[in-house]
């Protein structure tokens, strides 16, 4: 029972962090119509930036500003230099982002090194919860993730840029005719997508390891969330991420983590084949 609670709780919190990263993937997928194979590595760059900030300034908290900022700039730059020129050829974008993924991983391996490292929990200690001593930082991480996801939806629904992003996704030609600078919206969207993954990396860094291969596992998980939630359905994506990680946590209490992963993948195949519009169609919007 204690184990079940612990794993379900870990899954839930991990799901909130994944939701943050998957939202970044979903806006890139939905708006630019490209499969971004480097998205897992955007997360990984976030964990490394957290580590680098801690090393150079001694403060982990500064990473919450540094990582999204650097991520945003890198994302905007990547969109401008690589994604923009090939925007109309979706197959090429897969090759380009695959190449980008290798470049990011290898650059981190050169600078950070090949051995995985750990960041000590910035809020040490545990607190008793339902008979289990639960790590305080994980609860803090959950709160931060919820705040950031909420903030993102506020931004999307209540700011001019957010409205532009939704408009361009909905109908690009009309949006352009209405005077929305679509080109700039693409650049900003890619930057925001990277920033969301990077800040997810900072939140996750004390829980997981800092490793140049850290994104390899995250990428399929984010795609599962995007698909199960429904392409273009952002609240659905966030809900699917939490649901998936929670279910995987529960399955892990009775079986191998790999079995849990197989179960999610089978669920995803079923959704793709039976409800390609996603599980939550009709639930939102």
């Amino acid at each position: 029972m204690d184990k079940l609670f612990l794993l379900a709780m870990n899954g839930l919190i991990w799901g909130l962090i994944i939701a943050l990263i998957a939202l970044g993937l979903a806006i890139i997928f939905g708006l630019l119509d490209i499969i971004n194979l480097a998205h897992g590595d955007f997360f990984m760059v976030g964990t490394v930036l957290a580590w680098a900030t801690l090393q150079s300034t001694g403060s982990f908290w500064l990473a919450f500003i540094v990582a999204p900022l650097v991520g945003f700039l890198l994302g905007a730059l990547i969109q401008r230099l690589i994604i923009q020129p090939i925007h109309n050829a979706a197959a090429l974008s897969i090759v380009a982002t695959f190449g980008l993924s290798l470049i990011l991983q290898e650059s981190v391996r050169i600078t950070y090194g090949p051995t995985p490292g750990r960041i000590l929990s910035p809020i040490p200690g545990t607190m008793p919860m339902f008979g289990v001593d639960y790590e305080v930082y994980r609860l803090f991480a959950a709160a931060v993730a919820i705040l950031l996801i909420g903030g993102f939806f506020l931004f999307l629904n209540h700011t001019q840029l957010g409205t532009w992003m939704r408009a361009v996704r909905h109908d690009r030609d009309t949006a352009v005719a209405m005077g929305i600078p679509a080109g700039r919206v693409y650049v900003l969207t890619f930057g925001i997508g990277f920033a969301l993954a990077a800040v997810g990396g900072v939140v996750a860094a004390p829980i997981t390891t800092v490793d140049f291969r850290g994104g390899v596992d995250i990428l399929p998980f984010c795609f599962m969330a995007v698909i199960i939630g429904g392409l273009g359905n952002l609240p659905g994506t966030a809900a699917a991420a939490v649901l998936l990680a929670f279910l995987e946590g529960i399955i892990q209490s009775v079986a191998d983590p790999t079995v849990a992963r197989i179960a999610s993948l089978v669920l995803m195949s079923a959704v793709l084949l039976l409800r390609p519009q996603g599980l939550f169609k009709g639930f939102t919007r």
Binding site: I35, L37, I82, P85, I86, A89, A90, A91, L92, I94, V95, A96, F98, G99, L100, S101, L102, I103, Q105, E106, S107, R109, I110, V216, P220, F223, I227, L231, D256, T258, V259, R261, I262, L265, V266, M268, S269, L272, L273, P276
Partner: protein
């Protein structure tokens, strides 16, 4: 020199080079490179399976490693557990991958574009994780090592792949035969129907083509190519491992095929050659060769979006055009 002459002489040079490799390469560099070239041939065949689907049917599969892995495991399990000899094990690998392609294809080809790419990678991940957990059968990440049975053992004539020259020619002949089959397929009415689906699937179905069945046939044939490649690679390395079923392996084949030139017969061969040579040359001097692989992928996409062979074909076409209509170009040039 006309375009056709350039192409024909290149084919002759390529064929002569491929046949001379076991003697030429050890004399020029060293015998290690003979096995590198054999490996390039195997991976080219794997990239060709991506190309058959993407370049000729318009379906981007991100899960071809699944059928590569089934080819590998068919051979390894056939030899290790069922004590099969060479050819039955080879056959088992090919049949296993085609059967798997048929079973997954039934579902996968119902979807197109993004959804197709994702469902193929999902299927391959499911079996990757299954292979990792069922260590009793697959050996997991460590894989299965086996010893090679003889390829031919007829009345005192005994040949096995342990003879490296024989191994090279066995791989060369098998890969050439498969690429020849693919060439025949593309030139056949079936191939024309596939290209029609690639160009416009709605129109193809309106002229009476059964789009679903044709896509499924192409998917199984691509599974065949990937399966042969996997079986060859198992014989080549004398082992099979779950790690070859991971999505990175599929992704590399996609990159090789598109960088070389999707929709061209030799594109995957050129792309694979380019990347494996970069890997082999750079990795001996610098461990971060992936950086160069990534950079090459990005640069080709930006500056030669049709791939190396696609750009080459454009260039040849331009030469042919100029040869046909020299007066026009001459007149254009004299204009101030």
């Amino acid at each position: 020199m006309s375009a056709a002459t350039i192409e024909r002489s290149l084919w002759v040079v390529l064929a002569a080079f491929m046949i001379a490799v076991p003697w030429l390469i050890p004399a020029l560099i060293n015998s290690f490179w003979v096995s590198v070239i054999a490996e390039i041939l195997i991976w080219s065949l794997f990239a060709a399976s991506v190309n058959l689907l993407f370049g000729y049917v318009g379906l981007l599969s991100f899960g071809q490693a699944l059928y590569f892995g089934f080819g590998m495991y068919g051979v390894a399990i056939g030899i290790q557990d069922f004590h099969l000899s060479f050819w039955p094990a080879f056959g088992l690998g090919i049949v296993a991958s085609m059967a798997m392609a048929f079973l997954t294809g039934i579902f996968a080809v119902r979807l197109t574009w993004h959804y197709f790419a994702i469902i193929t990678v999902v299927f391959s991940l499911i079996f990757y994780f299954l292979a990792l957990t069922n260590k009793w059968l697959t050996g997991g990440d460590d894989g299965i090592n086996f010893s090679l049975p003889p390829t031919f053992n007829v009345g005192g004539f005994n040949k096995s792949l342990t003879d490296s020259t024989f191994q090279y020619f066995f791989i060369l002949v098998t890969v050439t035969f498969c690429l020849w089959l693919m060439q025949r397929l593309i030139a056949s009415p079936l191939g024309k129907a596939l290209v029609a689906i690639r160009d416009n699937d709605v129109r193809a179905s309106l002229i009476g083509l059964n789009v679903y069945r044709l896509r499924l046939i192409a998917f199984v044939l691509a599974g065949f190519l990937a399966g042969v490649a996997g079986a060859l690679f198992a014989f080549f390395g004398r082992y099979a491992s779950a790690s070859y079923m991971f999505y990175h392996v599929s992704g590399e084949a996609v990159v090789w095929a598109i960088v070389g030139g999707a929709g061209t017969l030799l594109g995957p061969l050129v792309g694979t050659t380019l990347f494996i040579i970069v890997r082999e040359v750079v990795s001996t001097h610098w461990e971060h060769h992936s950086l160069i692989v990534g950079a090459v992928a990005v640069l080709v996409v930006l500056f030669a979006p049709k791939g190396v062979v696609g750009s080459w074909n454009d260039w040849i076409a331009r030469i042919a055009e100029r040869a046909e209509a020299p007066s026009v170009t001459a007149k254009l040039r004299t204009d101030p």
